[in-house]
Amino acid sequence: MILVLELVLLAVGLVLPLVLDHFWVVLATRIVLICLPALSFDLLWGYSGIMSFGQALFYGTAAYSAALLARDAGFTSIFVIAPACTLIGLVLALIMAWFLLLGRYPPSTIFVALGTLTGAYAADRLARGWYYLGGQNGIPSIPPLTAGPFTIAEGPIYYYLALAVLVVVYALCRVLVRSQFGLVLAGIRQQEERISFLGYRVQHFKAIVFTLAGGICGLSGALAAFHDGFVWPNLLGVLLSTQIVLYVLFGGVGTLVGAVIGVASIEYVSFLLADNFQTFWPILLGLLLLFVVLFRRSGLVGLVVTERERFGRFGRTPVRADVGRGHGSA
């Protein structure tokens, strides 16, 4: 069923610019780009048991870095911006992981959650107060992204670029969580202590995933900065970090596809509610989120995906037929 959902979403994603007008394509591009930090959070919480309230820190830092690279150094090429900002996300996340995850004793979930939250809050305050970064107003008028002689303007081209990045990152995440490495993550999520007694250095695995998640946020932050043409402190802060958490909880933790569904459905519902109930739409949205998070803990995806499928299989499966023969021997 997960594969069906993935293929349906991909098909819908591919045809959207063909049937939507420019306004909706720009909105859809934003939705596609915010799917990336949601995926990164699903890797963290859904697969590795790391609660991060600071994914916006990596997203926003990369967005600001992209803006500065364009404004002060004149770099607008995607071939410079994308690797540079991915690297910035990776390095920043590695530094955070060093402090939060690789201490002498295994950190509690709360410690990591508060540590990441503090990081995002501090970065938000720093950006608001630093003149060089534009203070409250951020950095406006970022020039368009380029690829050689071509300009990647907002609209269908940028949409397909964002979609291509999402598909590649999604596929890599899928390979990761279905690999033997993913099997270790599944073990950590269920019985972290037991896994360490098997000889796994659990915190090292967590640090690797945390760093990769930071890299994903970095890449998406840079693309979002060039797409929107400006960056501002809200890209770094607690509000966006919390939104990312809610996207995944709403869509379904630990499925990857749930992160994408969560982003798309919350953003679309928000838009509809804001259009129809202009004064109290946030309350309606909050109630809807509360309802799903409290009463449908497996999220929207849990309506159609079983627990067994959610955990899935790990690594290559050359031997299932052989194992299957064993059923008769019991």
């Binding site: 099997l183 599944a186 269920q190 037991r194 299989r313 299932r320 008769g328």
Partner: protein, 244 residues
């Protein structure tokens, strides 16, 4: 030089003295039984050896290495493996994947990322599942196994890491008589692969499988010796006749 040497290990939980200067030696190729009344400190000692608890005083040396304050993962990598009193298999993973997870614990990160060792590990997983009668359940979720089968699965996982010393904390707890008998038969050949330190309340079971017995009482070693010597010990008889 003993394989495991516990010297003067003490552990307190607030006012409660769980261990008070415990000494214990486990030799290579030995099944060493650890018995004692409830609350005598058996499980606490096992946890201190495995690294789930850090002793307040004393030293734990294993294979000539000081592991007193080492993390559980480092102890496991040194060759210690444990099956806890409360079964802790991974309930949402298949039985096959539980054993594979244990077997691949020494694989490099790169091979885990590339999933290159699963095929090579298949025979070992199958052998482990056959040794304990679980092969027919390979594709089922571990959480769906009976309590006794979960105990076997956990022993299979502990053995899959190829330990030098296997720590078994009440491996037959909650098992039927038939399952206990079978567990005893399963443990006997393991002795050739590794030493075993085993905590058990079933005195008949532990008498049958152990080479050496140590009796704990109120956090201290009451007596240690061969099964026959312990059975004949007046101190041990007094404890078991008056308190058990």
């Amino acid at each position: 030089m003993a394989l495991l040497e516990v010297s003067g290990v003490s552990k307190r939980f607030g006012e409660l003295r769980a261990l008070a200067g415990v000494d214990l030696r486990v030799e290579t190729g030995q099944i060493h039984g650890l018995i004692g009344p409830n609350g005598s400190g058996k499980s606490t000692l096992m946890k201190c050896i495995a690294g789930a608890l850090i002793p307040d005083a004393g030293a734990i040396r294993f294979a000539d290495r000081d592991l007193t304050r080492a993390a559980p993962s480092e102890r496991a990598r040194a060759g210690l493996s444990i099956k806890f009193q409360i079964t802790s298999v991974l309930p949402s993973l298949s039985v096959y994947d539980n054993v594979l997870l244990a077997l691949q614990s020494r694989d490099s990160l790169v091979s885990l990322l590339r999933s290159t060792t699963r095929r090579a590990r298949h025979e070992s997983v199958t052998a482990a599942l056959e040794r304990f009668p679980l092969r027919g359940r390979a594709d089922q979720l571990a959480g769906a196994l009976s309590h006794g089968e979960q105990q076997w699965l956990e022993i299979a996982m502990a053995l899959a890491t190829d330990p030098t010393l296997l720590l078994l904390d009440e491996p037959t707890a909650g098992m039927s008589l038939e399952e206990r008998r079978l567990t005893g038969e399963l443990l006997a050949p393991i002795k050739a692969r590794c030493a075993i330190l085993i905590v058990e309340h079933d005195l008949d079971f532990i008498r049958d499988v152990s080479d050496v017995l140590t009796v704990l009482d109120q956090g201290s070693v009451l007596d240690t010796g061969s099964v026959e010597a312990i059975q004949a010990s007046p101190k041990v008889q007094e404890v078991y006749l008056t308190r058990v």
